[in-house]
């Protein structure tokens, strides 16, 4: 990896100035910047040229810059500029769902019984003030984001779920004299070693160590939720001034960062800026104009610009169309009558017109038509599975009618379909499903709900679903990490049905599925895991509880001035760490 010395950086700046001067005169059709979808599988505009300002913008405000207080993939990706984690996703194309060491010197050592993970930190890790990063700081960062009633609210709580000997620990504020007293789940025998003790084997634990919660936070720097104003940097960049939501963020080089300690970050730009609260259409237009480098949100072009870019050959060459790891589906409830009958659910599966659903989602650029629930990037996906075949994916009306007869509803039935009113794509899919189910006499009423409450109190509340006869709900799932368990446990494991904020909207509670999922994550045997996940995948499709709409694809745009671009399946967007720019 390239080293950052002042001399090299200065050279980078001057050559960039030259380049942009040429570009200004001769138009920006350099042409060599890649072809459609190229960055999905390889690096586009490979470069180790340092310097310049990398310009990000986002349509909302940044959720939080605090590593312990965020659940958005784009923050997990972006925060690595100023916060190093124990492990991270590989930046090597084709391997971007694999974990690699970041602050860890090597991958964790796992004990024979699978319940303890030992991580050694690298030498030479420092904060922006020059002080050394210790294993205790990492432990503190995990404690403040997971434990106690006053733990930071936004992030996941995987450590709390998984770590042993910590059930009585009340968080970092319980005992001011010793914030970590009683937190037995992580041992720190010396300044460079962490030993994680798990309640039971959990093969996906390395993915938990990728989360930004494993970034170090020194106890005396912690200011609770105010820590986000100025996170003490452990990475190649640090905050310029303070950040407050909505006012944008500027990162400048952290001279204390030692490139020798960091194989992950080439740290090409001299400066990184983020504009917040910019309208999505404006972001898209500025990307295409080359006035912006990256849409921080990482969800791709909005629908209007997408249509324009995909129909313009020149612009299309600068676009990528990767699967973003999420499954869009209709949760077919297993409790609401008559869908509590498996044959009735299978009738819905047969009757659905998948061609129409895919069109509603933006056609082939919006996603692939799935025949199972585990996306292709994740182990357990079965491309050969096809339980509900139909000609041209138009649905099989005859088979659907036969299934209706089997479940005693030969005249069809009526049910309600819940959908988020402010998401036009989801409403379009709802209308498409409504039209296709109408063909077999299943009468569907579309009910719209606001998206900020939908996953918590409408579709996310089994009581609400039952009371309002919501047999169907348009839903989607993006896993916290790309494994079968990470993907399926929340949407298909019976133990995860909750009173509110329920993600298992189908209320699928199948003994076989529950057991196979729990077994799969306890074994380190990858071929056994694969077998179990494939079986779960097939069984879920059989139950008819999940009607897949698409394996979603986004249309990402890479301006020609953006260098070193590649898609990361781990973050489901461009990998932000290698990016450079030819802007001055």
């Amino acid at each position: 990896m390239s080293k950052s010395t002042l001399g090299l950086a200065a050279l980078g700046v001057s050559s960039v100035l030259l380049l942009s001067a040429c570009g200004g005169g001769g138009g920006s059709d350099s042409g060599a910047s890649g072809s459609f979808d190229q960055a999905t599988t390889e690096v586009v505009n490979a470069s180790d040229e340092q310097g310049g300002t990398l310009r990000y913008a986002i349509s909302a405000n940044i959720e939080s810059t605090d590593l312990g207080n965020t659940y958005y993939g784009y923050v997990w990706n972006f925060s690595r500029y100023y916060a190093r984690t124990l492990l991270t996703y590989s930046a090597e194309p084709g391997k971007t769902t694999e974990t690699v060491p970041d602050m860890a010197a090597e991958m964790p050592k796992i004990s024979d019984d699978g319940t303890s993970y030992t991580v050694k930190l690298r030498d030479g890790l420092t904060y922006e003030d020059g002080s050394a990063i210790t294993s205790e700081d990492v432990k503190y960062g995990i404690a403040r984001s997971n434990y106690g009633d006053d733990a930071l609210p936004n992030g996941p709580r995987y450590f709390k779920e998984l770590l042993a000997d910590s059930d009585d620990y009340q968080g970092v504020n319980a005992d001011p004299s010793d914030p970590l007293a009683g937190f037995g789940g992580i041992e720190t025998p010396d300044d460079q070693t962490l030993v994680f003790h798990l309640k039971e084997p959990f093969a996906d634990f390395p993915y938990v160590l990728v989360q930004p919660q494993t970034a170090p936070v020194p106890a005396d720097a912690d200011k609770g939720q105010q820590y986000q104003e100025h996170v003490l940097s452990s990475g190649p960049y640090k905050f310029e001034g303070d950040w407050s939501p909505g006012n944008g963020l500027t990162l400048v080089r952290n001279e204390e960062w030692d490139p020798d300690s960091d194989p992950v970050r080439p740290a090409l730009p001299d400066k990184i800026t983020v504009e917040e609260g910019v309208d999505q259409n404006e972001i898209d237009q500025r990307l295409v104009n080359g006035e912006l480098d990256v849409d921080l949100g990482g969800t791709g072009l909005g629908p209007a610009k997408k249509g324009e870019v995909l129909t313009d050959e020149a612009a299309k060459a600068n676009a990528d169309n990767p699967e973003n790891g999420s499954l869009r589906y209709v949760a077919v409830n297993t409790v609401v009558e008559p869908l509590d009958n498996e044959a009735c659910r299978q009738a819905v599966m047969y009757a659905a017109d998948h061609d129409s659903l895919q069109r509603a989602w933006g056609g082939a650029a919006g996603g692939e038509i799935p025949n199972d629930v585990i996306p292709p990037a994740i182990e357990g996906h079965d491309p050969k599975l096809d339980l509900y075949p139909s000609e041209g994916d138009k649905g099989d009306v005859e088979k659907a009618k036969a299934k209706l007869e089997e479940c005693g509803q030969e005249d069809g039935f009526s049910t309600n379909l819940g959908v988020r009113s402010d998401r036009p794509t989801e409403v379009a899919a709802a209308e498409a499903l409504q039209a296709s189910l109408d063909r077999v006499g299943i009468e569907v009423d579309i009910k719209q709900y606001p998206s900020d409450t939908f996953t918590n109190t409408q579709a996310g509340s089994p009581d609400f679903v039952h009371d309002n006869d919501l047999g169907l709900n348009v839903y989607g799932w993006i896993p916290d990490w790309p494994t079968g368990y990470g993907f399926l446990s929340y949407i298909a494991h019976g133990d995860n049905i909750k009173k509110a904020g329920n993600s298992n909207v189908s209320e699928l509670d199948d003994k076989e599925i529950n057991e196979m999922l729990s077994d799969a994550v306890k074994t380190e045997d990858t071929s056994e895991q694969e077998r179990l996940y494939k079986e779960v995948d097939r069984r879920i499709m059989e139950t008819g509880a999940i009607l897949p709409i698409v394996f979603e694809k986004s249309v990402l745009y890479r301006p020609e001035n953006l260098t070193n671009v590649r898609f990361s399946a781990g973050y489901a967007m461009y990998d932000y760490m290698p990016l450079g720019t030819t802007n001055s």
């Binding site: 909005g302 629908p303 209007a304 610009k305 249509g307 324009e308 995909l310 129909t311 061609d355 129409s356 895919q358 069109r359 509603a360 933006g362 056609g363 082939a364 650029a365 309600n416 009113s421 402010d422 036009p424 409403v427 379009a428 709802a430 209308e431 498409a432 409504q434 039209a435 009423d445 579309i446 009910k447 719209q448 709900y449 606001p450 409450t453 309002n468």
Partner: protein, 344 residues
């Protein structure tokens, strides 16, 4: 407009000075009631007549929607996806060839008069025609509600005065200061799917009518109150009172007939405001449920396709524009006809 016939006595009284009723001499021209005069004036106003004709056509279109779509269109919720490009959702130049590119006219043809809705391929003509039903139903319903509440409270405030007037007038101020759009969005979000004995879209339409009507009554209320204040000092009211008529009789038999004209004029001007309000609410996703078409909802969906299917933006936009314009011209003409001082 109804043909002029025998005008009620009170109208003549109201118009007393002009008609010279007290003089006993009644030349033919002076015999004409205010309505007859207004109708003549209105007929001469070509712009207003144009508006009136469009209004009549729109109402006919909404009422005859099932017939019109059977003759010239398709069922409004019928998909025609074989005509559409799967990638961009636009209408194909040649349905037989998926690679033929997108028709910039949105698939307008003798079959699909106004083209096709992107992605679904639903017939735009049918959806516009059915959309008129929702727009006009909500606008008329809300206007009736406004007028009823506004007239009753306005006439009471104006006639009784004193503390009654103070209370009602302050209530009007409060209603006018209400952040209506925000309230409407919040209310539409929390009202359950079935309530007040209504279900689904019947409830949504009812809710829209209630929200728009219940919060816009002070406009009519203030006008009615002002008119009542002047009318109640007039001789015919004094006469009725001295003959021992009760308040109820004076309010609804003596005053109300003389208020019909301004109420009619201002409700005609209220309708276009309400159409825009309904479209705004549908645009913001708190209108009626899909797949029932509404103009505001179409406009809202169309923003995702404006680069590839511009007709989807233009047609519902034009429908709203024409309707609002027609009602405004009609209402303006009506006002000028009844109140010549306001025209030139």
């Amino acid at each position: 407009m109804s043909a002029p016939s025998d005008a009620p006595e009170k109208q003549v009284e109201d118009n007393g000075a002009a008609a010279g009723a007290a003089s006993g001499k009644a030349p033919a021209a002076a015999e004409r009631s205010l309505r007859q005069i207004a109708w003549q004036r209105f007929r001469r106003d070509k712009v207003a007549m144009g508006g009136a004709i469009v209004v009549v056509l729109l109402i006919a279109m909404a009422v005859l929607a099932p017939l019109l779509t059977r003759l010239f269109g398709f069922p409004p919720n019928e998909f025609h996806q074989s005509l559409m490009d799967p990638l961009t959702g636009g209408a194909l130049n040649d349905p037989a060839d998926p690679a033929s590119g997108i028709d910039p006219w949105g698939g307008m043809s003798s079959e699909h008069l106004l083209g096709l809705e992107p992605v679904t391929g639903r017939d735009m003509f049918s959806r516009i025609v059915y959309g008129a039903q929702i727009s006009l139903l909500v606008a008329f319903g809300a206007t009736v509600l406004c007028v009823v509440i506004g007239t009753v409270l306005g006439i009471i405030a104006g006639y009784f005065g004193g503390i009654t007037d103070t209370i009602i007038s302050r209530a009007m101020d409060i209603f006018l200061a209400f952040p209506l759009l925000l309230f409407a969005i919040a209310l539409a979000g929390v009202v359950p799917d079935g309530a007040f004995g209504l279900q689904g879209n019947a409830l949504r339409v009812g809710l829209l009518i209630f929200i728009i009507g219940f919060f816009n009554w002070p406009y009519i209320g203030r006008i009615v109150r002002g008119q009542t204040l002047t009318l109640k000092e007039r001789e015919f009211v004094e006469a009725a009172r001295s003959l021992g008529a009760g308040s109820g009789h004076i309010l609804f038999r003596e005053l109300l007939p003389n208020l019909i004209t301004p109420i009619l004029v201002y409700s005609t001007l209220l309708i276009p405001t309400n159409i825009i309000f309904e479209a705004s609410l549908s645009f913001l996703g708190v209108g009626i449920n899909p797949p029932t078409p509404s103009w505001g909802g179409m406009l809202s969906n169309s923003l995702d396709f404006y680069t590839t299917s511009p007709h989807y933006v233009i047609i519902p936009g034009l429908a709203i524009f024409l309707t609002v314009l027609a009602f405004n011209l009609f209402g303006d003409g009506l006002r000028d006809a009844f109140d010549p001082r306001s025209s030139d």
